[in-house]
Amino acid sequence: MIPLNWVVGLGAALFAIGAVGVMVRKNPLIMFMAAEMMWNAAALVFVTFARSFHDMTGQVMAFIIIGTAAAEVGIGLAIIVSVYHHRHRLDIDEVSELKG
């Protein structure tokens, strides 16, 4: 059996990598993928704890995270495509000037 606490640590590392990706990158597609990675890391941690408690609720939560991510990606990509259709560069800092 694999060490459960190390899997939680791995989940935290993936979460941090995703957070860095959202904050450092400017391409909306890559930012969005990094955010998906954060969700995935959380799902991994839920499944790990579900295993250690022998409790199916954690797995149900992970399943719901996957389903929600599907809906979110559908909407997100639709928004990104519609932004792109009207403006031909895809960089968040060009897209929106940060005022006040």
Binding site: L10, A12, L14, M23, A43, V47
Partner: protein, 176 residues
């Protein structure tokens, strides 16, 4: 333990790849690597159904959608990101996130949750067990996810509405 190390290296490599890749296509491919590594983790954590869902929904549907959009939007463009403006601020935020994540990882490793030593209950994590949960007490969550997918369907229609229909509806001030 060996399995854990190999899979962890794969997952972390995929994760770092997503963030550092220059082209979004490469990011998407790295994310698929990451997702597949997590799917194998799910099998090792006796969540067979979730492993299947992860591969089918995430690696199958979501990432294919991503790849499609990436190729649609960035085909034949060099994607060098401009390095100006908030670079310092972003770097600080990134360093903070790394520190926080490192702290979390150490916490997760040092403080294991109370683990139940004896054997798993029957049907833990397989299709039967998930079905018993999702179609009994947790059905309402499934219904909520269905409503979210409905939102996504409406959203795609709204956002990429054909322009003609808007004009026929008598738009007052449209600047698109």
């Amino acid at each position: 333990m060996i399995a854990f190390v190999i899979l962890a290296i794969l997952a972390l490599g995929g994760g770092v790849g997503v963030v550092v890749a220059r082209q979004p296509v490469h990011s998407a491919l790295f994310l698929i690597l990451n997702i597949l590594a997590l799917a194998i983790f799910y099998i090792l954590l006796s969540a067979e159904f979730l492993a299947a869902a992860q591969v089918i929904v995430y690696a199958g549907a979501i990432m294919v959608l991503f790849l499609f959009v990436v190729t649609l939007l960035t085909a034949g463009k060099d994607d060098a990101e401009p390095q100006e403006g908030l670079a310092g601020q972003r770097l600080t935020a990134g360093i903070l996130a790394v520190l926080a994540g490192g702290g979390l990882a150490v916490l997760g490793v040092l403080y294991p949750s109370q683990s139940i030593p004896f054997g798993l209950p029957p049907n833990f994590g397989n299709l039967h067990g998930m079905g018993l949960n999702l179609w009994n007490q947790d059905f309402v969550y499934l219904a909520a996810v269905a409503l979210m997918l409905l939102t996504a369907a409406i959203g795609v229609l709204v956002l990429n509405r054909p322009q003609r229909r808007q004009h026929r509806a008598g738009v007052k001030g449209e600047d698109s």
